[in-house]
């Protein structure tokens, strides 16, 4: 049951990707130039500035790329796993399985493995693991 779906809205625009990768390439070039300038006498300050520009450009393009990917992951409808509990009214045998289309609460399903009596769907639910936000109240 755990499925995700996507559509054209989830695609990253080619232009945005192009800008991100050009910035990244320029930043890496700046870093390489910074290293070569560092070993040239009298060019230490320029090397420092190139280093800053290179790091900033690389950080910025990586951040934008990650943000775009994050937006894509947000643009999905998560289908949580749904559990169906089946119980035997006679011997109390309980079985848990994934929800199947057509299941409903108090539906008679297959016979019990132990006593051959018809079993009943007694619960259909989803379990949510919530992150507890600590508050004073």
């Amino acid at each position: 049951m755990k499925k995700t779906s996507s559509s054209a809205t989830t695609k990253i625009s080619t232009f945005v990707l192009l800008v991100i990768f050009i910035t990244l390439a320029l930043s890496i070039t700046a870093l390489i130039l910074a290293i070569s300038a560092w070993y040239t006498p009298g060019q230490e300050i320029i090397a420092g500035y190139l280093l800053i520009i290179g790091f900033l450009g690389a950080a910025l393009s990586t951040y934008v790329l990650l943000q775009t990917r994050k937006r894509i992951s947000r643009l999905r409808i998560e289908v949580p796993p749904i559990t169906t509990t089946i119980e035997c009214g006679k011997c109390g045998f309980k079985s848990i399985r994934e929800f199947q289309r057509g299941d409903y609460v108090f539906k008679e399903v297959e016979s019990c493995q132990k006593c051959n009596e018809n079993m009943l769907i007694t619960a259909i639910y989803r379990e949510v693991k919530e992150k507890r936000v600590k508050t004073r109240f």
Binding site: S5, S7, T9, T10, I45, I46, Y49, R71, R74, L75, I77, E78, V79, P80, I82, F99, R101, G102, D103, Y104, V105, F106, K107, A123, I124, Y125, R126, E127, V128, T135, F137
Partner: protein
């Protein structure tokens, strides 16, 4: 002191060294930015807000398209239509209901009831035309799926309207209002998105907890149909006779508990010791999901017609009315039922029994009505 002097010298060196005699450019740039922010600050803020709204609008567009897709797929799967239902679904998504005029409020409830009846018949006919092979349960589920898709379509269009209006007028106040309510709107849209699959597959939803509570009481007892789209069973509880009412399941259906309660009261000529209503209720932030609370009054949501009818009936015979509610948030109400809500069912049944013991005598007749959608619950 020496350290301070050294730091200042270093700072001057860093800022002035690469520009040297051109450091005045930095000063001018600073003043230009300052002036720009004085005159265009609000406009910049407006553009930032518009960008935020735009990203939410992308998400809404995606959810809306998914809703349409799921509805069409479900119709094709269960209804086996001869032609492609897409055009009919698109037309359905644009349906609207005009609420009755309330300048003279007397009798507005009956007018509203009539409009809702017409709407329901129209929707059912449309779904039957879209999905001719679907049985009654599937038709009800499809109707609910389409209504969720319709709600998503409407939310998207309203937000898009204000976004475009804001962009056209560049009014900070239009955009600001939109940006402020957007987190709540997005929560609602996400809730409807998860409801879509629940309705399509026929899974019990959080809103159906009232129906589930009474379904547990009714189980193994003979039921009969009563108007409208409801069932009733006579169940002995703690030495009292309880008429237990719920919407007919397991298809997506809320029934008309107002009419059902009225019918049972009339059948018993008003000799009802108490009415207990069970329903899901919206929780406040900080409250736990599945918390059970009790009070008085008609616990039933919807447009208000059923609540009005129940209140009219109980007033006529002076019947006390009690309510047991199970708390959940909007997202839980329309998405597949959470375990916490399911576990609250037994707690709610204990509360009902407690109310019966405290408020009635042995041999009395009571009504227990479970409000909510019976999807996935017999």
């Amino acid at each position: 002191m020496n350290e301070f002097v050294a730091m200042t010298a270093l700072q001057n060196q860093i800022t002035q060294e690469p520009f040297g005699e051109y450091s005045w450019i930095l000063n001018i740039l600073f003043y230009v930015i300052f002036v720009v922010f004085i005159f265009y600050g609000q406009r910049i803020q407006t553009y930032i807000m518009l960008r935020e709204v735009e990203s939410s609008l992308y998400k809404l567009k995606y959810i809306k398209s998914e809703g349409r897709k799921i509805a069409i797929e479900t119709i094709k799967e269960t209804g086996k239509p001869q032609t492609d239902p897409s055009a009919r679904v698109d037309r359905f998504l644009e349906y609207f209901t005009i609420s009755p005029q309330s300048l003279d409020p007397a009798g507005v409830v009956w007018k509203l009831e009539h409009i809702l009846d017409v709407r329901e018949i129209r929707f059912k006919d449309e779904v039957k035309m879209m999905a001719p092979a679907a049985d009654e349960i599937q038709t009800n589920n499809l109707e609910n799926t389409l209504e969720a898709a319709m709600a998503l379509n409407y939310i998207y269009k309203v937000i898009r309207h204000f976004y475009l209006l804001g962009k056209k007028t560049l009014s900070l106040y239009v955009i600001m209002q939109l940006q402020m309510i957007l987190p709540l709107v997005m929560r609602e849209a996400e809730a409807y998105a998860s409801a879509l699959k629940a309705f399509a597959y026929g899974q019990p939803i959080g809103d159906g907890v009232g129906a589930l509570v009474v379904a547990k009481l009714i189980h193994k007892h003979q039921t009969r149909k009563i108007p409208k789209d409801c069932v009733v069973a006579t169940v002995p509880i703690e030495g009292r006779t309880a008429h237990v009412i719920k919407a007919e399941g397991p298809g997506g259906n809320v029934g008309r508990p107002g009419d059902a309660v009225k019918t049972i009261i009339e059948e018993n000529e008003g000799n009802i010791a108490t009415i207990i209503m069970v329903d899901a209720a919206l929780k406040l932030e900080g409250e736990a999901v599945g918390e059970v609370a009790e009070g008085v009054g008609a616990a039933i949501g919807g447009p208000g017609v059923d609540q009005f009818k129940i209140e009219e009936s109980i007033l006529k015979h002076r019947i006390p009315i009690n309510a047991v509610i199970i708390k959940e948030d909007i997202g839980d109400a329309v998405s597949p039922m959470r375990k916490e809500i399911f576990d609250a069912v037994d707690v709610a049944i204990d509360r009902i029994k407690q109310v019966i013991l405290e408020k009635t005598k042995e041999g009395d007749t009571v009504i227990i009505a479970g409000a909510g959608n019976s999807i996935g619950i017999r």
